[in-house]
């Protein structure tokens, strides 16, 4: 099956500033993928490269098996801050979608607008942030893309609007079976909807993998202080902190940890992401792992 997105050595520079460096990644199709990382990590850049709004400086990116180009039918995109035309009404936005997309699903669009309670005659500039995000999602979804890219769609929303948006997104993915890649700097937003996670820190991919697999293979080890090099084969250090007598390590290990001198804790998704984010500063590149091998 063709990957939803695959990248090899993907690099994007703006003038002298590197927004994304040497990113190698492959994201399976049919998943709801969370792209998480701190602000400025390169999430927007990666998504805009994926929908063809940006061209890579170096490396290669393929989306659904082809080089991305803006204006294709297969990819839908909801940009950061969900831009809409302030002077146009909700109904006119649907009309734009209908005019510019041969695959437009008018029934879906109207049903969604009614569902989220948008007034078709209202100017988009007068909508609240949550309503605007719903409108942008509707326009992107009614295009019936095979891959939907969402760039921080809920960042500006209050918790209630956030839940409403994610609810709508889940319904869409359930009924259409499309691939989704959605970025956020908050894991909590992604946890609920994503089954695949990519952690991007300082323009590099730190980890990418199935959520269940990530949860199963990451452990926090607490024990007497020792050299992290003694961890053994098949285990990789994500984050470490030491006091005089005690070491706390976050490791990724496919094999069970059976050394009795360690206390082994399970980690939730947020812990894992935070470990990668804070470990990024110290971790050497070879310890960066990839989900699918």
């Amino acid at each position: 099956m063709t990957d939803a997105l695959s990248a090899e050595g993907l690099t994007k520079k703006y003038g002298g500033r590197t927004a994304l460096s040497d990113c190698t990644l492959s994201v399976p199709a049919g998943r709801v993928v969370g792209l998480v990382g701190p602000n400025g990590a390169g999430k927007s850049t990666l998504l805009q490269l994926a929908c063809g709004l940006l061209d890579p400086t170096a490396g290669r990116i393929e989306v659904l098996g082809t080089t991305p180009m803006s204006g294709t039918r297969q990819v839908g995109f909801v940009a950061q801050d969900t831009p809409v035309y302030a002077a146009l009404t909700v109904a006119e936005h649907l009309r734009i979608g209908a005019r510019l997309n041969p695959s437009w699903d008018a029934a879906l669009a109207e049903r969604r607008i009614a569902q989220v309670g948008l007034d078709p005659s209202q100017k988009a500039g007068k909508l609240s942030g949550g309503q605007r995000a719903q409108l942008a999602l509707t326009v992107a979804a009614a295009k019936r893309p095979d891959l939907l890219l969402l760039d921080e769609p809920v960042a500006a929303l209050d918790p209630l609007a956030r839940r409403g948006f994610l609810q709508g997104l889940m319904e869409l993915t359930a009924e259409q079976g499309i691939s989704v890649i959605m970025s956020s700097h908050l894991v909590a937003d992604l946890e609920r909807v994503c089954d695949y996670l990519i952690v991007l820190v300082a323009s590099r991919v730190r980890v990418a993998g199935d959520v269940d697999e990530l949860l199963a293979t990451h452990h926090r080890l607490v024990g007497p202080r020792r050299d992290p090099a003694e961890l053994g084969a098949g285990r990789a250090m994500v984050e470490q902190s030491h006091t005089d007598v005690q070491s706390t390590l976050v490791v990724r290990s496919t094999a069970p940890i059976d050394d009795p001198s360690w206390r082994v804790d399970r980690l939730n998704l947020e812990d894992i992401v935070l470990a990668y984010m804070s470990g990024a500063a110290t971790a050497a590149p070879q310890r960066v792992l990839e989900g699918r091998r």
Partner: protein, 339 residues
């Protein structure tokens, strides 16, 4: 896509249409004033030499009525219109999409950037050309008697008549679009557009038109029965003699008084006949008679009135070629450089 282009453009279009309609209404209301004065002063249907005096009477009478003032307003409108179209139609077209981020939404629809821009350019260029075309059509007709009395091929009038204003409007619009695309800021693009369009309006008559005009040169016997100027040139021992050239409706590029050998006449002058102390515009009769004996000729380089339409189409073609070139550049830019 055409619907979207129209929907996003219609308010600007209606605003411009409202302003232009006021101007067109003013022209319509004073139409009979112009034709009436031309008839009453005997300028309409005048023959040969009588035309000179009739033309003077006509333009003199015009300066006292609204139409005379409107004549200059018309020229101003034709110069300002392309600037405004570039600023308010062209510059925001792409710049506002880039500024508000809506380009990310619209480029995510199933329409290529090239097609999106081409449709937007086409709608804007056609609207600009039609607005300018309507105004120039009415104004050229309205001012026809006045232009006959003055000269419609002289550089300032020429740019405000015929088909040239259409090309200016189209070019100014595209200049605005490309400025907005490159600068990515609406206000900056507006300022640059204004400067660029004014620069074009100055450069074209100074550089392009003389190259296209193919002026002709004629040498004829100097007519000294009309008013002329004679006097010593300041701080030299040379003299200058300037007489009006009698070429109706032509654009006089240069004229010099030459001797029978073809050299420029710079004196010497018999100072017993022509007193250097007399005002240069008021030579004595002896001086006039003495000058008539000198076999002087007048060498005039001019663009005849009959060249009006050929020159109009040549300038139109050059400006439209520039417009197409810039449009092509903008299409290339939106694909290659906007990423």
């Amino acid at each position: 896509m055409i619907w979207l282009a129209w929907r996003q453009f219609r308010i600007q279009l209606l605003a411009a249409a409202a302003v232009l309609l006021v101007f067109l209404a003013a022209l319509a209301l004073t139409w009979t004033q112009v034709t009436g004065l031309a008839r009453d002063t005997g300028f309409t249907g005048c023959q040969a030499d009588a035309c000179d005096n009739a033309a003077d009477a006509f333009t003199g009478a015009l300066s006292n009525v609204t139409a005379g003032w409107l004549y200059y307003v018309g020229m101003a409108v034709m110069f300002v219109l392309p600037i405004l179209l570039g600023i308010f139609w062209g510059a925001p077209l792409v710049a506002r999409e880039l500024e508000t981020g809506t380009y990310r939404m619209i480029f995510s629809q199933s329409v290529s950037r090239r097609r999106w821009l081409l449709v937007k350019l086409a709608v804007g260029v056609v609207a600009a050309a039609m607005s300018a075309g309507l105004v120039t059509l009415v104004l050229t007709g309205w001012a026809a008697p006045i232009d006959r009395a003055e000269s419609r091929i002289s550089p300032v009038t020429f740019a405000t008549r015929g088909v040239v204003p259409i090309a200016y409007a189209a070019l100014a619009f595209v200049i605005g679009v490309i400025a907005g695309m490159v600068l990515r800021r609406t206000v900056a693009a507006m300022a640059v557009t204004m400067l660029a369009v004014v620069a074009v309006q100055v450069a074209v008559p100074l550089v392009l038109v003389p190259a296209l005009a193919q002026p002709v040169t004629s040498v004829t016997a100097l007519n000294l029965d009309k008013r002329f100027l004679i006097g010593p040139a300041p701080s030299t021992d040379k003299w200058t003699l300037d007489a009006q050239a009698q070429i109706p409706g032509a654009w006089i590029v240069s004229m010099t008084t030459v001797t029978s050998t073809g050299a420029e006449f710079t004196g010497p002058v018999d100072t017993t006949k022509c007193d250097p102390a007399r005002p240069i515009g008021d030579p004595s009769d002896e001086c006039r008679e003495w000058l008539k004996m000198q076999n002087l000729n007048q060498k005039v380089t001019y663009v005849p009135a009959s060249s009006f339409w050929p020159l109009q189409w040549r300038e139109f073609g050059a400006l439209i070629a520039l417009t197409i070139g810039l449009s092509w550049l903008s299409v290339w830019w939106i694909r290659r450089r906007l990423t």
